[in-house]
Amino acid sequence: MGKHLMKGNEAVIYGALLGGATHYFGYPITPASEIAHAAANLFPRCGKHFLQAECEVSSISMLYGAAAAGARVITGSSGPGLSLMAEGLSYLSGSELPCVVVDVQRAGPGLGYIWPEQADYNFIVHGAGHGSHSGVVLAPNSAQEMCDFTYKAFELAERYRCTVFVLSDAYIGQIMEPVDLPRQIQSNPHKDWALYGDAESRHNLLSSIYLKMEELEGHNQHLQDKYRRMAEEIVDFEEFETADADYLFVAYGITSRICHSAQQLLRNKGIKVGMLRPKTLFPFPDVRLRELAGQLKKIIVAELSNGQMVRDVRLAVEGRVPVDLYNWMGGRIPSTEEIVHRLEAETGGL
């Protein structure tokens, strides 16, 4: 099996096409633009649709239209683009249309800059746009996972009729690594709720309007039930040396790569550090964190934001263990050594 050296952003498009994607709509933005470049190159050659929209408001509306028509749709963007998509994301959730949205997080707020941050967490994980809604949030930490997570995102989106976010960051988008491509192309199944412009689907209506209060309440309950079901069925995470750990790093995306290196160095120094990396941020691995909480002296959440995931970790452990935040903002990335020294200093060496 050939391994292909490619950027995380490019790997998204390989994962998408092998995952059965039929349409890409998007608007360029650094540091996500290579996703659109790869899509523009590969989608038409593979007989699929690529269209550069006039803005992100339109691109997400195009996802809405194509998803309603039964397509497998994907877009890629970064923070400022996601802000513009908030409207469409809410409508997609309200109408229960499946789609895949990749966010290559950059530093904010406002224009900020193109360096990496993880500060879209609150916005993406806790419901981008108005109303009580969310979607599956996958958190890749390598080019391989950019491909693999996108590959499986379409099936998840259709299973739950929801948006699946691939929440990465500027580093995971820009990194080049060898990628093993999936061998099978997924097919796009017929959906009995979609609009195909034919007699069979003529009576279908895709809408998020509910004129009766009790119906809208019921719709909301239905969405929340769906989110609870996701928590039971698809929560995913990776653990390193947690069995005897006194300290636990919790991190995702690029930060998890750095923390994993730090965790190994600290183990070499005799400090019992383990690590939990959420692969799904929604649903969040709160049950497992609560289980681990009892044995730990401290949890350290490392993230490139003002401390957003840390709140979910604190909620999960319900005060059973202190939860510290190591955070960086504005694009700065810690070195492995910085994290090692900081925890070493706190623990007094051992």
């Binding site: 092998l18 590969l42 239209g65 397509a71 500027a170 580093y171 003529r202 809408s207 730090a262």
Partner: protein, 490 residues
């Protein structure tokens, strides 16, 4: 007179027309549940134009025999509930976004008949971007634009098409150009674009004008059936309730006040769209096997040898932008893959970017690589002085620094690292291209580190460069690197 009940209701004014049997269009539901269970009248206000237009569209759908194929995109506004009336495929869209939604449906099903039905706030206000770009792409869709110069559903606020001095709840003393600008002529804007095939403005002021509207609506739909391209019909339509008039007064006001600002008539009717559309069915489906081939899923790996690394390689390659720093890193990473090793490549980015230099971080290891960021390299390739200045002190003791001494007028100061001062650019120029200086450096690195073999480098280079006539010169660069090291090791 309840629009939405009886098609072409204005004929009722002529008593001789009473003998005409009015039959509801098949494309409309028999009863209108939005109004009430079993209701035969619409929820629209008395005298409203929506019902008339709904009827005209439904009749056209019937007559064209396209009911099963229609996907109707309803907007935000009074006609948000169009799906209660049209017995076709229905989708409700966010405010102003229907043309983008319709464009995507168009690009999903070639034979669907995609209708975007929008009011003036929806299309000319919040959705101006979406309509202009859908029109500019010449999407083969049909847009019905109901212009009643006011926001209906939200309670009579100013619309982009509200005329000067017209009073609304948000222009209580009338619309003033100095504050709110002028009413927008959508048909004229759309007609300024190349792609649309049909643009017509019609009016519902009188029965003969309704007949003209009927013709325009049919034409706009037929164009889509014939795959001609983008058609828009702007329909000047009464809103008696928000205009605070009776139904009869509103028609007169429409004719006397709106029509002079928005002249009715055909603005464009092309026999053929300005470009040929790609017929995907004729172009043929791309088979899964072909897709796997395009994506290189079955490509054979270039696997030359299995190397045992003395230690994990954390390489920083730095120089001016344009010196091929990033591509040298990619070449090194590709060689590592060929050696069966793990590797990561990261461009200069964020906090890694300093001193105005471009740099690439490459890690090579037997194990899965944790942090891809090289803060403290054990190998530095410095292609210019700022790079050496920036990164010399970060190199770990015992590491090595390779300097392109043609570009760097000083020696490495560190004494705890191995230093190689290679006049790579001068050597490259002698061979014939300054571009290959990096390959000379990479060759020396391969020899002194043992992290990659020359055999691999020779196999990977031809696969990595686009201009195949440069393969030979790159091979000469490798020979030059070998020769330099032999000479300077003595």
């Amino acid at each position: 007179m309840l629009a939405g009940v009886k098609p072409s209701c204005f004929f009722m004014e002529n008593k001789e027309m009473h003998t005409i049997k009015h039959q509801k269009a098949r494309s409309l539901y028999p009863t209108f549940e939005r109004k009430a269970p079993g209701a035969e009248v619409s929820h629209y206000c008395p005298g409203c134009g929506h019902g008339t237009v709904h009827n005209l569209i439904a009749e056209a759908i019937d007559d064209l025999g396209i009911q099963d194929r229609v996907v109707f995109c309803s907007p935000v506004g009074c006609s948000v509930f169009a799906y209660y009336y049209f017995d076709v495929g229905n989708i409700q869209c966010a405010h102003g976004r229907a043309p983008a939604v319709a464009s995507a449906i168009r690009r999903t099903h070639d034979d669907a008949i995609v209708i975007s039905y929008q009011g003036d706030g929806d299309l000319a206000g919040i959705g101006m971007s979406q309509i202009v770009h859908a029109a500019n792409r010449g999407e083969n869709i049909t847009v019905f634009f109901i212009n009643n110069a006011i926001y209906g559903m939200t309670g009579g606020q100013m619309a982009p098409t509200t005329i000067l001095n017209q009073k609304t709840v948000t222009t209580p003393s009338g619309r003033h150009a100095a504050n709110e600008g002028f009413p927008i002529g959508i048909s004229e804007i759309i007609n300024s674009l190349h792609a649309p095939v049909f643009v017509e403005r019609v009016s519902l002021a009188t029965a003969p004008k309704v007949m003209k509207a009927r013709m325009a609506i049919r034409k706009a739909l037929r164009n889509q059936v014939d795959k001609k391209g983008f058609s828009l019909v702007e329909i000047l339509s009464p809103c008696p309730v928000n205009w605070k008039m009776t139904a009869v007064e509103s028609r007169r006001w429409l004719e006397e006040n709106l029509e002079p600002v928005f002249p009715v008539g055909n603005l464009r009717d092309l026999a053929k769209g300005p470009f040929d559309r790609v017929d995907r069915k004729k172009a043929g489906r791309v088979s899964d096997r072909k897709i796997l081939e395009i994506l290189g899923v079955d490509e054979k790996e270039v696997h030359t040898s299995s190397i045992h690394l003395k230690e994990e390689q954390n390489v920083k390659i730095a120089g001016f932008g344009g010196q091929g720093v990033l591509s040298t890193g990619i070449l090194l990473a590709n060689c590592a893959i060929a050696e069966g090793l793990q590797t990561t490549w990261l461009p200069s980015y964020g906090a890694e970017m300093r001193g105005g230099t471009a740099n690439a971080s490459v890690n090579i290891s037997h194990e899965a690589i944790g942090s891809p960021i090289v803060s403290f390299p054990n190998v530095l390739m410095a292609m210019n002085l700022p790079s050496l200045d920036a990164f010399e002190d970060t190199v770990r003791p015992g590491g090595c620094i390779l300097v392109n001494s043609s570009m760097v007028p000083r020696q490495v100061r560190r004494t705890d690292v191995a230093a190689y001062h290679i006049p790579a650019t001068d050597m490259a120029n002698n061979i014939g291209s300054p571009q290959i200086a990096n390959v000379i450096l990479l060759t020396v690195y391969a020899l002194v580190s043992g992290a990659i073999t020359l055999e691999t480098l020779q196999k990977v280079i031809p696969l990595s460069i686009k201009r195949k006539n440069l393969v030979n010169i790159n091979m000469k660069a490798i020979e030059a690197g070998i020769a330099w090291l032999e000479e300077n090791r003595k």
